[in-house]
């Protein structure tokens, strides 16, 4: 006799009891009839099965963890690339070669992550007219946006703003400070949790 058929009378009883008592659980539970070889074998099989399932679950968690780590690393790298600053020469909005490479990396990520939007902020060094520098910063931000849209990124995904010389990152009064301040900064304004690394 198998375990299943042995349980059948009880199940039938339980079902009829449940129907009779209108959804109340049965008042009594079946009393075990004492160990025999069949039930020991069944119990061992059950334990083996649980152990295998547990091991599989651990493997699966570890694999998922690894995938998540990889995904997070990829997303971090993509976020870093998206927000990577580009730099300009004095009184210029021309994109230099390294700036183009930096923008190319952003284009790849933007294509893979259609929900992501960026804000480009143009900045200048402290030299020059405070007022003219606002317009120069605007032109620098617009130059980066134009490069991105020329390479297929939708214009409504890129906002621009100019801070002129009002938000320096380096406060010195020499070329090493100035060169760090002549820059476009990139801020992720939407879809930060949807960023996907390069495929």
């Amino acid at each position: 006799m198998t375990g299943k058929t042995r349980l059948l009378p009880f199940l039938l009883l339980a079902v009829s009891a449940a129907v009779a008592c209108s959804h109340k659980p049965p008042a009594t539970t079946p009393t075990p009839t004492g160990p025999n070889q069949d039930s020991i074998n069944a119990e061992n099989a059950r334990r083996d099965s649980i152990a295998r399932a547990e091991a599989a679950r651990r493997d699966s968690i570890a694999r998922a963890q690894g995938d998540a780590d990889k995904m997070r690393a990829a997303r971090d790298a993509a976020t870093k690339a998206l927000t990577q600053v580009i730099y300009f020469d004095f009184d210029s909005d021309a994109l230099k070669d390294d700036a183009r490479s930096t923008l190319d990396a952003k284009i790849t990520i933007l294509n893979a992550s259609p929900d992501v939007k960026l804000k480009v902020a143009g900045n200048t060094d402290e030299r020059g007219s405070d007022e003219y520098n606002l317009a120069l910063g605007q032109r620098r931000a617009a130059a980066a946006k134009r490069y991105l849209t020329d390479h297929g990124i939708a214009g409504d995904r890129i906002d621009i703003i100019s801070y002129g010389e009002e938000r320096p990152v380096a406060t010195g009064h020499d070329e090493s400070a100035w060169s760090q301040n002549r820059r476009d900064e990139f801020e992720i304004t939407a879809g930060a949790d949807q960023i996907k690394g390069a495929p």
Binding site: D91, R127, G128, S129, D130, E131, Y132, L134, A135, L136, Q138, R139, A142, K145, R146, D159, I160, I161, S162, Y163, G164, E166
Partner: protein, 438 residues
Amino acid sequence: MHLTQRLITCAALAACLGIPARATAQQQDTTRGVRIGLTYQPGTKPGVVVFPVNGPGGDSLQAIVQRDFDYGDRIEVIGGDAIQETAKQQAARNAIDFTVWKSLSAAAVVQISVMGSTAHVNVYDVAAKKVAASHDVQLSGSPPGEDWRMSVHAMADQIEQWITGVHGIAATRILYVRGNRIYVIDSDGYGEHPVSEPGTVLAPAWSPDGRTIAYSELVKGGWNIVIRDLATGREHSVTATPGGLNITPAFSPDGQSLCYAHGEENGTDLYMVSASGTGAARRVTVGRGTDNVSPTFSPDGARLAFTSGRAGHPEVYTSDADGSNVALLTPFNFGDQNYRSNPDWSPDGRLIAFQSQLDGRFQIMTITLRDQTVKQLTSEGINEDPTWAPDGRHLAFTSSRTGVKEIFVLDAESGRARQLTHDPGARLAAWSHSTSAP
């Protein structure tokens, strides 16, 4: 009397009185305009003695008037303890001894007495030994309040007109930016207070009547132009070109229009809108992707000067107010870098002040519109963003000569400079247009 003889007498008397002889014989011509009846040597600043003032606030009133004359650079104030003691004695006897003042090279004696809110002013012509002007002047508020000070400045400006033929500039104010606020300060450095809410604010400008200011403010999506009524503090934004860059406002001389720079993704151009900032804006410049900013009107409102990068680097250009007839004004290679900007049209229409880079540093220069003659006005430190006083002779500008940015005032004729602000980081000054407060 011959000038030399007069100077010798002056020096002798000065020695007797134990006071240093005053500076004499200024080289520049300071005698333009029409004078009324006063006689003094052309080519010198008239020496003026201000008698002690009776009545409420008399001492500070005398000090303000003397300082206003001094800062105006058209009058040589003859002062000092010995002079004041002599003046006091004469006032007590109610008899002015012109011989003493003549020997001190004074051209005029100013006697002021205050009764209630009325100041009675007598200006005596020393050479002619008679009253040259006699007027009652109404003062506002009470000493030492801001209104009272401004009304004393207005009186000093009027007296300066009676003596030199040219209205003074004491009753004027200067806007500037420091930190996150726009501030206003009286021309003598008193009465400084903020006139904007905290924020990232730049480029303040006066309406012609001095009641309204405009400035640029950083908001979430870009830069807005804010128009603020100084008396009520009520503010509104220019709505003609929402979003993007909206900066460097300038009111037209008739107060009807506002010219400003607007930029989005294809460069920055000048636009004209009604002074309220509402309604449609008319585009003035066609910069084709370049930057066109910092407009300034000619005194008749018919022309504009502005900074443009259309030739690849910033230069000052002029055009008609509708944008036609554009011409390069500063086609000169003055220095090591091609960078000239921030023009301000002089009130007499003859000159434009601007900043030009020399050896990597900006200096203030003027250029004549008639024949483009350039004059360099500053050389110490970095000097930027000039703004003319209503007399067309003084300029305020940002200078780093003390090591930090402060607003300085310069007499373009004598080269005399004074520091106006005394907290670091002051910049972008704008001098009010009217010569007396409303």
